[in-house]
Symmetry: C2
Subunit: 312 residues, 2 copies
């Protein structure tokens, strides 16, 4: 590509984080998606190629989450020229790791950068959410905000959109394991009924408050006690073969918490020690294997950077 | 009374704190209740007198929240002698300020102290909750834990009971205003249906997480944005004449947040400045007056001590 091209990376993310249904998310170091953009004078967005998606993603710019996000950005800033775009999916699709959010975020981050940052990073979120809406049917911000900004984020409010960067212990290690199971985000969402018991809400309120306090005070025991989900996990875990056993394995081998990543099938676990985390991940993979399920795992610190340019 | 007598004070409390339905509470400096205990050799609890209750509270030790709490403590430690007890209600009953919790806490704190503290302070909570159960029909711990321990507390879990002391800015000033309106706690609780919309739960999760983060990071703007209650306030506020106008007055005069204290009718507001807080309280009282409702207000820092002995 010419000098007028740029490549951005946006990381995978763990949303919900047990007690934080639809409001909490954090980014991991890897995997993630790359979007390469070249400015052209021909109006419109042309998706030149999509790599790593095994042909699963739409190349129609009106349907692809990255291009939809970029188009909504163009509409906002009034950009009338065009781009060519390459999307390199370096993470699994429909994995519960925020795949569509990573593509959307990489897209809007790249275009904003190549146009010399007319908007600041935080303001890009609303455009990335347009891509989320196309891919998932609803614009949930927990994945996209974490992928864009990095760190551990809270969606305090959707209307108005209010994203808060939370304090968290920098030595926290994340394991995300992705089993070869397919769960559709929309189907997983339908499992959660639109009404819940007040008792469940109170329980979840206590736990999310405990988690935020624990993260802030670096109280690992409190974090561990608080990583309980009574809203989504009881229903969605049934879609993940061996879920209870995998979770038990993670805890038995020293994870301070474990839960479904987003709407699954990926599972996240937290540890305070890299070596221990590698071992937990290995044992979780072994446990999946005992159910005849292949899996890939990723172990890293929480990614404090979020979207970034990886070449200019 | 002889040397074998003791007097304890336990403070009034604000429970729920807008987004923390059934899980958050904090203590104020005043008002509060006093319980005076004298050890006797005649088995059983004798309530010698109750002051300041206008004859409203039961003197039957099986029905009074302070004596019920003390009896459950006796049952636990195996104490077989008796006591004489004076309960001095120095705060309004059925006010939404944790009146029964203050009596229960003062009672168990006094008896534990006069018996040379066989149990530590935190362990007294479960006995105080027995008094809450008698008075309110259910053992909600947010008032009692805050009254006992002081500070800003979280009931992370009811089963097992898990109380977390939260970080909060020490310069936070609390206004509590008690209008001459009667609300029955049990009736106020019945207004809240046992099922809530998932959307409401998500909204409340976002706000409680924002509040805990704001308290911890001393971010007053975030605290202010987070003090929203979509579960109880929309229903319970209808029982408080002029509620919306009083709340608007508090905010207009600079309160960073305002909501129902417990199940009402008292209303709390937060400020970062004592002089401003006094003015907010004065204007809230004036606004109640415009509805022909008398009220009393209390302005103080958050009480970081909780229950204490006031003479030996």
């Amino acid at each position: 590509m010419s000098r007028s091209s740029i490549k951005a990376f946006a990381p995978a993310t763990v949303a919900n984080v047990s007690c934080g249904f639809d409001v909490l998310g954090f980014a991991v170091e890897n995997p993630g998606d790359e979007v390469e953009i070249e400015l052209t004078t021909k109006p419109g967005i042309e998706i030149t190629s999509i790599l790593g998606d095994k042909g699963k993603l739409p190349t129609d710019p009106k349907l692809n989450s990255a291009s939809v996000s970029i188009q909504s950005y163009f509409d906002y800033i009034g950009y009338n020229d065009g781009i060519k775009m390459i999307l390199n999916k370096k993470m699994p699709i429909s994995s519960g790791m925020g795949s569509s959010a990573a593509s959307s975020v990489a897209g809007v981050f790249a275009i904003n950068e190549i146009l010399n940052n007319p908007l600041n990073k935080k303001d890009l979120l609303k455009f990335a959410l347009q891509g989320e809406k196309i891919a998932c049917g609803s614009a949930h911000a927990d994945n996209a905000a974490a992928s864009l900004l990095g760190g551990f984020i809270l969606v305090r409010s959707y209307d108005p959109l209010d994203i808060v960067s939370l304090e968290y212990p920098k030595d926290l290690i994340v394991i995300v394991i992705h089993p070869q199971l397919k769960i559709d985000t929309k189907a997983a969402r339908k499992l959660i009924s639109s009404n819940i018991k007040l008792n469940s809400a109170v329980s979840q309120l206590g736990n999310i408050a405990g988690l935020i306090s624990g993260l802030s005070q670096k109280d690992y025991n409190l974090i561990s006690r608080s990583l309980i989900d009574v809203i989504a996990e009881p229903k969605r875990s049934k879609l993940i073969t061996g879920y209870q056993e995998i979770k038990k394995t993670a805890i038995d081998f020293g994870a301070i918490g474990c839960g479904i990543s987003g709407s699954g099938p990926s599972i996240y676990a937290l540890s305070t020690n890299l070596k221990k985390a590698e071992n937990i991940a290995f044992e979780m993979k072994n446990k999946f294997k005992s159910f005849d399920i292949d899996s890939n795992y990723y172990v890293s610190k929480i990614n404090d950077t979020g979207a970034k340019i990886i070449n200019k």
